[in-house]
């Protein structure tokens, strides 16, 4: 019975589970960006949205039975020192797809810089308005509001 359940999960849920979760996380982030009132909460929503995209890309690059995209020491030695053709030593399915990893690696670092810039702007907003709540800021900006 247990084996049956595991087989069912492996056949029907596992192949798509990463994609479902990526959609769910992305929608959590989008909902937070639309409806949350606090600017820091909006930024957390933005970061969740961003990690959802990265999750999607990294999930694409996975292969069954694959390891990390770094050659083993033995393989590297065989190709570089002994001069074997790389096609004989390397099988493509043995390594995860490195291209999505590269694209996402830079995206993470750029993401933290833009997060820092957004935090800087929200600090300036707090300096001018004394609050981080969106509706209070809009109240103060409206002609005839407080201030």
């Amino acid at each position: 019975m247990e084996l049956l359940a595991a087989g069912f999960i492996e056949d029907n849920i596992v192949p798509k589970f990463n994609y479902w979760i990526y959609v769910i996380l992305m929608m959590i982030g989008l909902y937070a960006m639309i409806t949350k009132n606090n600017l820091i909460k909006k930024l957390i929503g933005m970061a969740v949205f961003q990690t959802a995209i990265i999750l999607f890309y990294v999930s694409i690059g996975v292969k069954e039975e694959s390891g990390i995209p770094i050659l083993g020491h033995g393989q590297h030695h065989e190709i570089v020192e002994e001069g074997k053709p790389s096609g004989e030593v390397i099988t493509k399915d043995e390594f995860a797809n490195p291209l999505p990893h590269v694209l996402m690696l830079t995206a993470i670092v750029v993401g933290v810089s833009t997060l820092g810039l957004a935090l800087a702007i929200s600090q300036r907003i707090h300096g001018s308005f004394g609050t981080l709540e969106e509706d209070e800021i809009l109240d103060q900006l409206r002609p005839g509001g407080h201030d």
Binding site: V14, P15, K16, F17, N18, Y19, W20, V23, I24, M26, M27, L30, Y31, I34, T35, S59, I60, G61, V62, K63, E64, E65, S66, I68, P69, I70, L71, G72, H73, Q75, H76, I79, V80, S86, G87, I90, K92, D93, F95, N97, P98, L99, P100, H101, V102, L105, T106, V109, V110, S113, T114, G116, L117, L119, A120, I121, Q123, R124, G127, G130
Partner: protein, 250 residues
């Protein structure tokens, strides 16, 4: 607002969930992304043309060198933007913080532990930068760790102690130096008859053959990236923690 946001999220989410039905299964080695010519070339030929075992670093610093160079520029611009938005001079910083400023470096245990930790962190960060083409790591990771070591110093001993090691002017100069190293290495390739960032043309001046020249050049551009990332990470922290006054700190 909440209601309309919920409706929009449900509609978009349903569409995306329906679309996942057409995706190749997770871990399928014959998915279009993994079957394509490009990733196959990177996996099989990277070691032939660059002698670097870590494919991610090789693609990052060599095959997609333009991409990484301008990502570094984006980080630099973000850092400059934060300084431009937040930095204030003199006593015009506005209202005082709601929280009392703790007197800096009061706890001897924290200070001593931090002074023991920082050299080890920096040593490991340099290892990560220098060994990036043989193991996980590279300029971005090592640079962030170097920046984090200065942030640790600022957290434990107060910002003035960290500023003595990495002042504001020094940070900006360091960040610009990193980009100049990266772009300058690309321009150096032009002088030897190659294209911009075509490292193989540098083999008359670098030890080893054409493949080793690409491997060594990767190290140089990773060092450039590490300079920029280190300086900008510390600049981001020091401006955010003091609201641009660069005094006292958290």
């Amino acid at each position: 607002m909440k209601f309309f946001g919920f409706i929009a999220v449900v509609v978009v989410g349903t569409l995306l969930l329906v679309a996942t039905g057409d995706f190749p299964g997770w871990g399928n080695p014959h998915s279009p992304a993994s079957e394509g010519q490009v990733s196959g070339f990177y996996i099989e030929q990277t070691v032939n043309v660059t002698k670097v075992p870590n494919m991610v670093t090789a693609v990052l610093a060599d095959f997609r060198g333009y991409d990484t160079m301008f990502e570094t520029v984006v980080i630099f611009i973000a850092g400059i933007g934060i300084i431009a938005v937040l930095r204030t001079f003199g006593d015009t910083a506005g209202k005082a913080s709601d929280y009392p400023e703790p007197d800096e470096g009061s706890d001897i245990i924290v200070r001593s532990t931090c002074h023991l930790m920082v050299p080890l962190i920096q040593l490991f960060a340099l290892y990560v930068v220098a060994h990036g083409h043989h193991s996980p790591g590279g300029g971005f990771q090592g640079g962030v760790m170097l920046g984090a070591s200065y942030i640790l110093l600022a957290l434990a001993c107060g910002l003035p102690v960290a500023k003595r090691r990495m002042g504001e002017r020094k940070a900006i100069v360091l960040a610009a130096t990193g980009i100049i190293i990266y772009a300058g290495w690309g321009v150096a390739c032009l002088f030897f008859g190659g294209n911009f960032l075509d490292y193989a043309s540098l083999d008359p001046v670098l030890p080893g053959d054409k493949e080793m020249a690409r491997s060594h050049s990767m190290l140089v551009v990773e060092i450039g990236v590490a300079f920029t990332v280190t300086a900008i990470m510390f600049a981001i922290y020091s401006n955010l923690a003091t609201r641009g006054r660069l005094e006292k700190g958290l």
